[in-house]
Symmetry: none
Subunit: 239 residues, 2 copies
């Protein structure tokens, strides 16, 4: 999916922003960059800001007009900060990314970002199938163009990933309920030996400790350490 | 929700990145910035890159250590690019944002970003309750620090817009990061007295205990009970 996406920057003033946008793209797995009439390009500042994404900058295609940049694309999306007089299909970046993920295999999507100060013109916006608006702070909507590319590229990457299964990465299995009960018995025994827990004391204390350790869900290694601590307290206590 | 979030930048080399991060924050409605030992700050380059977010830069709090930056926070999240030898709770930025939206009303969350080249140290990562990893292109994970702040702030904003205010009902407030550190110091002291922890033993044991108790997130009542148990072990041990 990410190979079918083109980022288009229109009339960018600062070459540093081209470099930053290229870096943002590459971190998210995008590589196809078109530049419509950039004010200053190529430029060493673009290379510098690209950091390790100089390949994206080097392969950038420079064209004169937006039509040249998007002519072969089947879906053209325009990034817009303003709401328009004539309503246009408008999506949040997340919805747009889901839509792009559902595009046919051989299609090509362009996502178009405007000038640093003034964004895209009405005419340019009207060359797009749909618009996206990044839900920024209404008191300060001024996203840097590379920052906008970063967010949009991030949403595209997330949509392209099936499921990130972070949860499964752990070195030991969690303690079973039975192991937890053995631990609580051991803990209570030690607390009574320490006279920290008095037999006539409110049961609340053990209840709070149960809640705490159940919430924590120790793995078996952690459980071994906790049991080991309890045992070494007993050794000292009984000597 | 966004008022309860602090962005912490550790040891930032380039003042321009501080400005860009401030701008990224403000576009998403975040305003609280802490700087841990920045290499060059204040600096005109920070102002310049902040664009209209110079207020965020002007109000930034500069501290010497990470502990000062997060000590009063009840949830500390570390941004990590690498996977660790000892796994730590790891979320995607989106899951983390949903979690933060569910935090109790009076809590404060810190999100910690590391150095431009090397990120956060293991010790710094082990001061965090959980880690986030931005799902970047495995062939080029090098996100600029301000770009990482932009993505995380964006997810926090989206989560705050969706916030159904299902914050947990709980009877005591959660322990702060500073209270957790005092507990770890006390725990280590007791474990050494018990000779459970040998001075020449691998540091892994304390690391696993840190991870366990940070994951459990004790409230202040539970913290008092745990500290009480430690003290009563010391009484027995020293008699």
């Amino acid at each position: 999916m990410l190979d079918q996406i083109r980022i288009v920057l229109v009339n960018t003033s600062h070459p540093g922003n081209i470099g930053s946008a290229a870096r943002a793209m590459k971190t998210m797995g995008l590589s196809e960059l078109y530049l419509v009439s950039p004010e200053q390009f190529p430029d060493p500042k673009a290379e510098e800001m690209a950091s390790g994404a100089t390949d994206v900058v080097a392969n950038a295609v420079v064209v004169e007009t937006l039509e040249e940049a998007v002519g072969d694309c089947t879906l053209v999306v325009g990034a817009s900060a303003r709401s328009r007089k004539i309503p246009w299909p408008l999506l949040a970046p997340r919805e747009m990314a889901v839509k792009v993920a559902g595009e046919p295999v051989n299609s090509h999507t362009a996502i178009v970002f405007g000038r640093e100060r003034s964004g895209l013109t009405n005419e340019e916006l009207q060359a797009c199938h749909l618009h996206i608006q990044i839900p920024a702070n209404p008191d300060y909507t001024s996203l840097n163009v590379a920052a906008a590319v970063q967010i949009v590229a991030y949403e595209l990457r997330i949509a392209s990933l099936n499921e990130a299964s972070y949860a499964d990465e752990w070195d030991y299995r969690l303690a079973t309920a039975g192991e937890m009960e053995l631990f609580f018995t051991h803990l209570q025994e030690v607390l009574i030996e320490l006279q920290f827990l008095k037999m006539n004391a409110p049961r609340k204390l053990m209840t709070r400790l149960r809640r705490f350790f159940l919430r924590a869900r120790p793995d078996v290694m952690e459980m071994n350490i906790l049991r080991g601590i309890l045992s070494s307290v007993q050794l000292i206590e009984r000597r």
